[in-house]
Amino acid sequence: MVELVSVLKTMAVSQVQSYPDWLAQLFGFIGVSLPDDFLLFQWAVILFTAIAIVGQAAVVFMVLMERKVLAWLTQRIGPNRVGPFGLLQTLADGVKLLFKEDIMTRDQDKLLFTLGPALFFLPCFVVYALIPFTSELLAIALPTGALLFFALSSISVIGIVISGWASNNKYSLLGGMRSAAQAISYEIPLVLAVLAVVLYAGTMNIRDIIEMQNNGAFGFPFGFISWFSIWLFPLSFIIFFISSIAEVNRIPFDLPEAESELVSGYNTEYTGMKFATFFLAEYAALFAMGALTVCFFFGGYYSPLGGLLSETLKIDVILQSLIGIDGFAGLVRQLEMISWMMLKTYIFIFVAMWIRGSLPRLKPDELMGFSWKFLIPLSLINIFMIAIQKYWHVTSDLTFGLAWAAVLVLGVGGFCVMMSRHFTAKLEERFKPALT
């Protein structure tokens, strides 16, 4: 252990010689001056703690938010007993789950049964490392960040399948099978939708993608007009959003745990803390997906009004003149970034909850068909379209503009008409027994 730490320390020391100035500001504010040898490893520990706290707090808040939003959508009050406005409800639930008996039945595979939730939890949490909460509060800004994200998030399926199989329960098994099929099916459109973003930005680094969106990459320096959501709007964003909801197994894609059919799907047999682990991980994954949507399409941690408000409004200068404390520019900027990031993420989480409140569940065959027959061809056409549009963008060649329009109209329009025909044909086929 000591060797590992020293190795890591050496690695860190060799990489960087200083810590961010806003950290010094923060510590200065609370009256602690950082030691001279405060180097990267300590910085990493602080960063880790911050991410862990932000991530867990986000999840804990989301559980309450889900219940509250669903209650408000159905004219109910929602949890309001534990703490003010029920704020401590999740905590109470967690404590309850902690004290619950952990039941394992005779026929279960004990090892896999325990391993399942852990395996499900692991990637859901590790992907937090890739989410840029601010430009600095980011564990690792890999050049291949987006790819790593999907690589990690696809691991969680293995956890579901393992727990479904280890439960020795028929519903769990069906849930696990469905989950596997669903996760692999929706991963392709998800990745293909991100491919369009990558093509647009020319990088897979998530932070760079955010920076690209706000650097006036398209000649529009003003906030949200330069975001990818505007430029990739209907197709890429919609495909990504639908697929991301499917990836985190939420209504209308919650077939692995469809409570009316499979009772609770893969987590039927789980109780106590193991169930809580599933529960936490699901929400963590939802948060990660929401955050990623914001990063890829909605300008990440930047303000929709262009750049950062604190820079535009010179808040640090105002603060300085008001309380006379110097050099807060970095800290204020970080705080603003994380606020925007959270706000935007929660908007998408809210939309996911709204969808959960409104829509029924798809059937597994429709679900698979929707991905393979609709989303995947559409996302392939989309990539093609984006590529031509990019070409047009670079060359300003009008023929490519026309080509883009042609692909848009013929490709997407033709595809949609084809799908309509397909569905109509299917309906007629279904009606046949009754009509004859």
Partner: protein
Amino acid sequence: MSQDQNKNSQVFEGMANIGKGMATVMKHFGRKPVTLEYPEVMPDLSTRFHGRLALLTKSDGTDLCIGCKACAKVCPCNDLIQIEMHRDEDKKPVIDQFTIDKGRCIFCGNCTEVCPVDCIKMLPDFELSGYSREELVLDKHDLTLTGEESDEWRQIRGMNPHVE
């Protein structure tokens, strides 16, 4: 009709209809909650509510029950209502004990209907739980209301308010 559905199965109209449904759900977001926070807010119950069983008394607080056992006869649960009585020197009925096992009562209201003197009644009170089964067996003391309460209830139910 099937023509309609075919049209709607098309991609864009389907999306529009999903949007419409979601907007309708969103309409409820700001509406006032319909749930009552029970222990703080009590539900507004009808005066005819089939709740707690009670024995009304005469206005002066003496027993109204004549021990005819009609209530026990029409009760769908066996031996739920048990009445012990004897007659005093003037051949007037004296109720020694009147027991109702609330835990087995199905609150059908049959007993209240056949009572010839309108003595046994159901009050709009639904908080009837207890900590043990024994607690659920009500005896005459638990069931009997005071004279004033009886008068009040007779008034609410539109019966002759004073019974001598």
